[in-house]
């Protein structure tokens, strides 16, 4: 069957036949790096187009339809425009930090790609602390935003950065706690183990109500963490013009933009892995026949299908809800989501000990 695992295995064996072990590793690393960067670029293009089409659909209009067939090359044209645009640095800005910030954003997004299993046996780095790694690295995102806001020497940027700091730090807690509930159920921090534990059903079904609560909290928290509407207070264009990236233009702005979309992809991929079994096909307990039929669909299709479903969900939020106010945003986290997710974690732990799941 044609799948990523077979392709990667054949490349690996082909390389081993011609080169020694060290060179094989080096070449494989280069291939992986190129793959990640191109995936990055493609994801950016696809997600921007998807966002525009989804918003157009919700707003009873057509969306981009001039560049390429059905407007599919629109985001490519936008990228070219951003590339040739002058990247200005304001006079009063801290030039070093101002130019560094977008790169930190993009590096953090790239690092997060490492532990994600895109398909069966197709993972850059199968590490045993995958979940911990993701939550640790994703919180570095706030540094780039604070850096951008501070270095711009602009009051709007600074306010946006401060809002974003408060917001990301708070919402990390709920996101972490809801991820923990799956870790408690599987007993492993390894993303691959978590996927394999869902071979007889996804956690969202196996763990019923408590996991569903955890999933809802997770989706809310990651929407806030990635600064997407209704939690886009860091940008809040009607209040702060563009928030932390007010002063950015050209490719530096594009890097922030790209990092935002890749972050959305990553958090949705993590969500899909934890709650919907990642690349694991839809299996129901001991229904062998049904499960085998499901296995015919390639694992990468399952993974991307689930991830894009979650991305669609997050886009749906963005184009329907108005924005929260900063105090309401923090109230929601500290007064509602955090207590609920703490209690929910206890519930999940009790459920895991007593075996009250399918």
């Amino acid at each position: 069957m044609l799948s990523f695992s077979n392709i990667s295995k054949s490349i690996d064996s082909g390389l081993r036949a011609t080169f020694d072990a060290t060179w094989t590793m080096v070449i494989e690393m280069v291939i992986a790096g190129v793959c990640v960067i191109s995936l990055f670029a493609i994801l950016g293009l696809v997600l921007v187009l998807m966002e525009r089409k989804v918003s157009a659909w919700m707003q009873i209009r057509l969306g981009p339809n001039r560049v390429g067939p059905k407007g599919m090359l629109q985001s490519l044209a936008d990228t070219v425009k951003l590339l040739v645009k002058e990247g200005m640095t304001p006079d009063g800005a801290d030039k070093f930090l101002f130019n560094l910030a977008p790169f930190i954003a993009i590096i953090v997004a790239m690092l997060l790609m490492a532990p994600i299993a895109f398909a069966k046996d197709f993972q850059l780095w199968d590490m045993n602390i995958g979940v911990l790694y993701v939550s640790a690295v994703s919180s570095l995102m706030v540094i780039s935003i604070l850096m951008a806001g501070w270095a711009s020497n602009n009051k709007y940027s600074l306010m946006g950065a401060m809002r974003s700091g408060a917001q990301i730090v708070s919402y990390e807690l709920s996101a972490g706690l809801s991820i923990l509930s799956i870790v408690v159920l599987t007993g492993s921090l390894n993303l691959n183990d978590i996927i394999l534990s869902q071979a007889n059903g996804w956690w969202i079904f196996k763990g019923h109500i408590p996991v569903m609560i955890a999933f809802i909290i997770f989706i809310i928290a990651v929407t806030a963490e990635t600064n997407r509407a209704p939690f886009d207070l860091a940008e809040a264009e009607s209040e702060l013009t563009a928030g932390f990236h007010t002063e950015y233009s050209g490719m530096k702005f594009a890097l922030f933009f790209l990092a935002e979309y890749v972050n959305v992809f990553i958090v949705c991929a993590i969500g899909a892995t934890l709650f919907f079994g990642g690349w694991m096909p839809f299996h129901i307990g001991h229904w062998e026949g049904f499960n085998q039929v499901m296995d015919f669909i390639p694992s990468s299709v399952w993974f991307f299908g689930k991830t894009f479903f979650l991305i669609f969900l997050i886009m749906w939020f963005r184009w329907t809800f108005p924005r929260l106010r900063i105090d309401q945003l923090l109230n929601l986290e500290w007064k509602y989501l955090l207590p609920i997710s703490m209690f929910n974690l206890l519930l999940v732990t009790a459920m895991a000990i007593l075996g009250w799941y399918f």
Binding site: Q59, I60, R61, E239, F321, R323, D327
Partner: protein
């Protein structure tokens, strides 16, 4: 002013909202003193689109000056024109044919709906929801099409002349208005689903920008802004002009005085306008659409004042005539100017995010404020 921008002595930060800012819907400049996210003072700086319309009118003839007023509150341009025409008719004692009166009122109410539709979309956009804007424009476009067919223009209609209207309505007019009413009625539920009932929206609006009834009167607030505080101020009811006396409609009042009350007033007002249109659309009397008037109008010596209800509140035209062919002095009392003056009072102590909600519910049109 430049020295002031930056920091105050107490360590509060002064930020400029505008003249180019997404929340001001035009070239309004607000100098805001904030402490963290809390607003301490809002200071409007006006005049970025000041064209001195009052001075311009002094050198225009009575037939010409009406159309300059379309450029003030461009969203209720028809109602502005109407006010000027009424003022002239009062001075010249022109009997307006009943057909023209009905057409004028119909156009007024269509304008009011179109203005509120735009406000509704822009209001939601201020709060970060983009989608309602396009949904509002779907209905608004229909009105604009009706206007285009009959008046020849979509925004600044210039349809009213002293003594009637410029030309008769288009043969399609009645049918298209009826189509619009049925479209509106089928879609109005969406508005509540999408915005009014949304919990985030309600939290953003309730208790924000409180304006008591006394303050509303003292600040000269009119229209939905004052009616949200429970002040009866609908000129159509209090000092009826044209045929509003004979029409069945309610003055919408909310008593909460916050942004949500002002929002609800406008949304419910659209339904009242629909009600007025429904009463008139099948009963447009036959006859002339324009009274016979002299080519050159000469207003007798004296002073004339006409108050009308635009989409934003009370609009007043004050003409001082010396008996010549041009007005000696014209004063336009614009609703936005007075409503804006209450913003500082409302905004103190609330968050920066609330400011856009307040400005949204005040429904500011900058050319109307600056004139």
């Amino acid at each position: 002013m430049v020295e002031e921008i930056g920091r105050t002595t107490e360590g509060d930060v002064i930020i400029n909202v505008g003249p180019q800012h997404p929340a001001t819907h035009g070239v309004l400049h607000l100098l805001i003193t904030i402490n963290g996210e809390t607003i301490k003072k809002v200071e409007p700086h006006l005049g970025f689109i000041h064209r001195s319309i009052e001075k311009m009118c002094e050198s225009l003839s009575y037939r010409q000056f009406i159309y300059v007023t379309s450029r003030m509150d461009y969203l209720s341009s028809h109602i502005n024109n109407h006010a000027c025409a009424l003022c002239l008719e009062k001075g010249l004692q022109i009997e307006v044919p009943s057909r023209a009166q009905v057409i004028r009122v119909l156009m007024d109410e269509l304008t009011r709906i179109a203005s509120h539709e735009l406000w509704w979309g822009a209001m939601a956009m201020d709060l970060g929801a983009f989608t309602p804007f396009f949904h509002a424009f779907r209905e608004r476009e229909t009105i604009n099409d009706i206007m285009e067919e009959t008046c020849g223009a979509r925004l600044t209609m210039n349809y009213i002349v002293p003594g009637g209207v410029m030309q008769d309505i288009h043969p399609n007019f009645q049918q298209r208005v009826k189509d619009f009413i049925s479209l509106y009625k089928s879609k109005v539920g969406e508005y509540d689903e999408l915005v009014t009932g949304n919990i985030i929206f309600q939290n953003r609006m309730k208790g924000v920008g409180y304006l008591s009834a006394e303050d509303a009167i003292s600040f000269g607030c009119t229209g939905p802004t004052a009616r949200g505080s429970g002040v009866t101020c609908d000129i159509r009811k209090l000092y009826p002009y044209e045929i509003y006396e004979q029409l069945q409609f309610d003055e919408i009042l909310e008593t909460a005085g916050d942004s949500f009350a002002r929002y609800m007033v406008r949304v419910r007002e659209m339904n009242q306008s629909i009600r007025i249109i429904e009463q008139l659309i099948d009963n447009i009397p036959e006859g002339d659409f324009q009274a016979k008037t002299k080519a050159v109008l000469k207003l007798p010596k004296g002073e004339f004042y006409q108050r009308v209800e635009t989409a934003r509140g009370e609009f007043g035209v004050y003409i001082v005539s010396e008996g010549g062919t041009t007005p000696y002095r014209i004063k336009f009392r614009s609703p936005g100017f007075s409503n804006l003056s209450a913003l500082d009072h409302m905004a103190r102590g609330s968050k920066l995010g609330d400011l856009v909600a307040m400005m949204g519910t005040l429904d500011l049109v900058i050319p109307d404020i600056d004139r």
